[in-house]
């Protein structure tokens, strides 16, 4: 299959744009804040505002007791010491149905944003392909203190744009019924963030 389809339409649209003769725009003034106060405390507070669970811990394995007895997805590349005994760890390759039936998923992240209480996954080591963090109903995400960017501009600068990225701010939610927010629709209904500080 060719990579560009319908070149007649393409040429016509591009020509119409040129014919519109839009004058050059003024240069963009970026007078907005590039950074912010940041920090663990602000990040934790903002994550909690979305009604996600937040815990600040000093080590990960000690904080995973709540997973015992559960079937938890662990993507390739999660540190070996996170895989504590007493948990049924589900490893790739996993089918859609296996993911759907898992109790939860444990991942790291690429970047977090203090200002907005957001975590960002980029599919690299310890995060897995996107379906892994979508189908299980519970997502436990580990954020290391140094991964927390203060602001959206700082976070975007740290990210690699061409990786598949998922920005997550709280559990899935909808405001479609009378504009009142309800947590838990299609994505994980429970989001827990462990901040390692």
């Amino acid at each position: 299959m060719p990579r560009v389809i319908n070149t007649a339409a393409r040429e016509e649209i591009l020509q119409r744009i040129r014919d519109a003769k839009v004058p050059p725009a003024r240069p963009v003034v970026r007078g907005y804040n590039r950074t912010g106060p940041g920090g663990v405390e602000l990040f934790a507070e903002r994550v909690a505002d979305y009604r996600a669970i937040v815990r600040v811990v000093s080590d990960v394995p000690g904080a995973l007791a709540s997973l015992e007895g559960k079937r938890i997805v662990a993507p390739q590349g999660v540190p070996e010491e996170w895989l504590i005994d007493g948990v049924t760890w589900l490893r790739e390759p996993l089918t859609i149905d296996e993911l759907d039936q898992a109790d939860g998923v444990l991942t790291g992240c690429a970047v977090a944003i203090a200002d907005t209480g957001t975590i960002v996954l980029d599919g690299s080591e310890g995060q897995g392909r996107r379906a892994l963090t979508l189908l299980p109903d519970y997502h436990l995400c580990v954020v290391r203190e140094e991964q927390i960017a203060a602001s959206v501009p700082e976070a975007l600068q740290r990210l690699e744009s061409t990786r598949p990225l998922t920005f997550i701010s709280g559990p899935s939610a909808t405001s479609d019924i009378e504009l009142s927010r309800v947590e838990g629709v299609h994505g994980p209904r429970t989001l827990e963030v462990l901040i390692v500080s």
Partner: protein, 474 residues
Amino acid sequence: MARNPVTWLGSPAFPKAAREALQDTQLRQNLRRATGTIRGRREAAVAEMTDWEMLRVAGEQIKDDVLARLDTLLVELEESVTARGGVVHWARDAEEANRIVLDLCRAEQADEVVKVKSMATAEIGLNEALEAGGVHAIETDLAELIVQLGEDRPSHILVPAIHRNRSEIREIFQRRMGVEVSDEPADLAEAARVYLREKFLTTKVAISGANFAVADTGSIVVLESEGNGRMCLTLPETLITVMGIEKLVPTWQDLEVFLQLLPRSSTAERMNPYTSVWTGVTPGDGPQRFHLVLIDNGRTATLTDSVGRQALRCIRCSACLNVCPVYERTGGKSYGSVYPGPIGAILTPQLVGDLHDPQAASLPFASSLCGACFEVCPVRIDIPSVLTHLRAEVVEAKGRTPESVAMAAAAWMFREASRYEKAQKAGALARFLARDGKITSLPWPGSRWTSSRDVPAPPAESFRAWWRKNRCQE
């Protein structure tokens, strides 16, 4: 040329549609409640940002730059997307776009597709076109699903079922899903989750829109709340994204502005629950076939108007709808288009591009020019100026006809809430709003106009000046 489906076939002109909508007290109650809530929340979300005005200015300037360099940026986007394994299609109008998508679905032998909420696909009437071609499109956004199952029309950009309250939604779900459910929003959301789960896990083709496309990287960005977007963008084998040609931003860095402006303006959140970004195809993760359909459908024509083209900066946040006193009273469906409210009043007629289309030509008059829309617009679209500009064009094109006079009078009536309320109390509003394109009579205080039999129509050059003068004579 086929008619542009951005307006719904058979919709009456705004004054008539509004007259009918105003009689629906349930609708007005639902809307007042919903928009009142979101207005307060948006204000709080914006007040938190000390640099909000600078973000707005940057948003405006970036989008103006996009419009100024649209041809080169589109070619750049095409190169970036194709370099990463995507296929790019171009469509001049709705018909062409629909045919492209239908052919793609057929090539995948799909008779069912899942859809993420998208204004572009609503604008081109894609679902209807697919249905006619034997492909059933399942809307997966909760509000879109409510509209689809209710065999209804959307009335808001962000929350298409905003005109429905919880008990109406419950009734629709019980009837169409065959389940017992309470009218608690949480239970209704759960019903939708169960209803759609299997579709997500088994459907092979998904269709989405795009909030932004980054020219220099080829990345496409979709913001959402429920996770239905992630489902559609991740699980199917084939993804078809339909996008207006103006949805670009030049660089990856530019997203830092819009990812701050959009969530606070639309859902009044610091950040929406989920934002997905993908670039072409990623081996082993997500759809392995990706098609990007770029649609014009009236945009290049809009671009030629030096005043009107700023409507193309719109990022579809819906803040202008939520603050609009006319929208709140008449509801979204009165605008007869997928784009209602203040942005609809300036964008729809430009996309239709026919000043002699009575319905589209009535839309610029569906405003009180109070200016609240401009105040909240994250990309600083001066909607009141575009409205007056378009009104002048309509009047110039049509001459002083009964319709143009009726529209001008309707606009005047909506100017102030007090005037509107008075007229409504007098029970005469229904009589006032044009019936069959004629003004039968205006209630007091507008009766002074009709009784003089010399209803002033706006002169082409400056509606606003004319209007100010007349207002002073009250």
